[in-house]
Symmetry: C2
Subunit: 270 residues, 2 copies
Amino acid sequence: MKECNAPIGVFDSGVGGLTVAREIIRQLPNESVVYFGDTARVPYGSKSRDTIIRYSRQIIHFLRTKNVKAIVIACNTASAFALDTIEKELEIPVIGVVKPGAKTAVETTKNKRIGVIGTEGTIRSALYTEYIQSIDPTIEVVGKACPLFCPLVEEGMLHDPVTDEIAARYLKDLQDENIDSLILGCTHYPLLRGTVAKIMGSGVHLVNPAYETALELGRLLQQKQICAEDGGKVEHAFYVSDAEEKFKDFANSIMPFQIELIEQIQIESY
Amino acid sequence: MKECNAPIGVFDSGVGGLTVAREIIRQLPNESVVYFGDTARVPYGSKSRDTIIRYSRQIIHFLRTKNVKAIVIACNTASAFALDTIEKELEIPVIGVVKPGAKTAVETTKNKRIGVIGTEGTIRSALYTEYIQSIDPTIEVVGKACPLFCPLVEEGMLHDPVTDEIAARYLKDLQDENIDSLILGCTHYPLLRGTVAKIMGSGVHLVNPAYETALELGRLLQQKQICAEDGGKVEHAFYVSDAEEKFKDFANSIMPFQIELIEQIQIESY
């Protein structure tokens, strides 16, 4: 197989990264995706840097057995903790979700006040703040953890008065912060975009890192001249580290096509 | 140290098992407890049997370094998946939370219709059903998964209209099932007992496996003649596999004394 027709490796701690895979498939329809969800070790948000780097290395080792031509870390925690280390160890391109989202927010904000919502791990580690301020130290970043958003999304309660009520409570603090851009800093959150947009109002621009990451990947493939050829065979494959059932239900509820083949692998042996 | 004055090892995937530790400390005030919460790998509910057995073995290996005289698996998933295997590998007594709760429900029910609420893993695996029907095959068991209860409890939303609304939805099906006993089949749920009792009404007896497990442990220690001596030193210790802050806040909100010492350990190395 020609290198350019090789698949893109995408990984996350679980199902959330499917929102990134979905954007890649939508924006780059010639590309094939090999997705890995580390459902046996989910969530990553509360784990240490060393652990996350070790897990990421194992996953990349697995993805490389599928001959991927590039890797997307579709997980906020792993992007923050492992990207810089992994990048140096690989000769194929690798990108994460944090930098593309942060960069767009920096370009978007006019009043230099950016909000970030995410898991407790993402907000506590201030990973978006750090990257945003490395680009422009005069920008203020306000973070807010929304721990119930992931379970609500995984319960399928995307359009529900309870979710609206929880969102209203979480976002109340941010409404008083005069931000003009808000990063959806968890891969589950694009599925709650409508709810968040309604509460924050039209004065706040929502940044979806999944969307920005797919854009960035497209640019990168072009620059490296490894875009898949038109009319080539497009095949997506899905792997998980724990039982595949629950993954399948969630995946099929958000992907634009029916996923039949999901394989469970023993990630610790990679 | 005399064996009888050695501590009881108690473990769970996270903070939920503290409701069991609390009951043990309340009912058996001479006993010391060594608690381990696997906060780096929480939740267990969605993980496979093999993974749970492997994790449980590591934890027991760690607890034994603290010279525990008995082990309580204060986690429904691990009790269901790992107890039988672990029991054969250990020469000290080990009990789980499933059997004591199920036994009490069997003794309590008059119309032979028992309800069980728990995580998706607990309900899908039908572990209570299996054990109840092994005692009395004529009993009907109706299960209902309540996936948002744990995150709501961990957010501290014990008395909140949102929690009432979610509970009302989850329990609606059970209200039509004519059950007379309901097992709170997740260690977090005793903290929502008031909410569940109000919805189910006085005709439904709520079974709290944490309470029944502490009773069972007391009987077992007496039978083996390893009860701690009156007037001995009582010390409780708490360990977690991830950052201790969040655990501390939750623990101190539900335990009858202030916990200061919580130590983080690297569980994967056991």
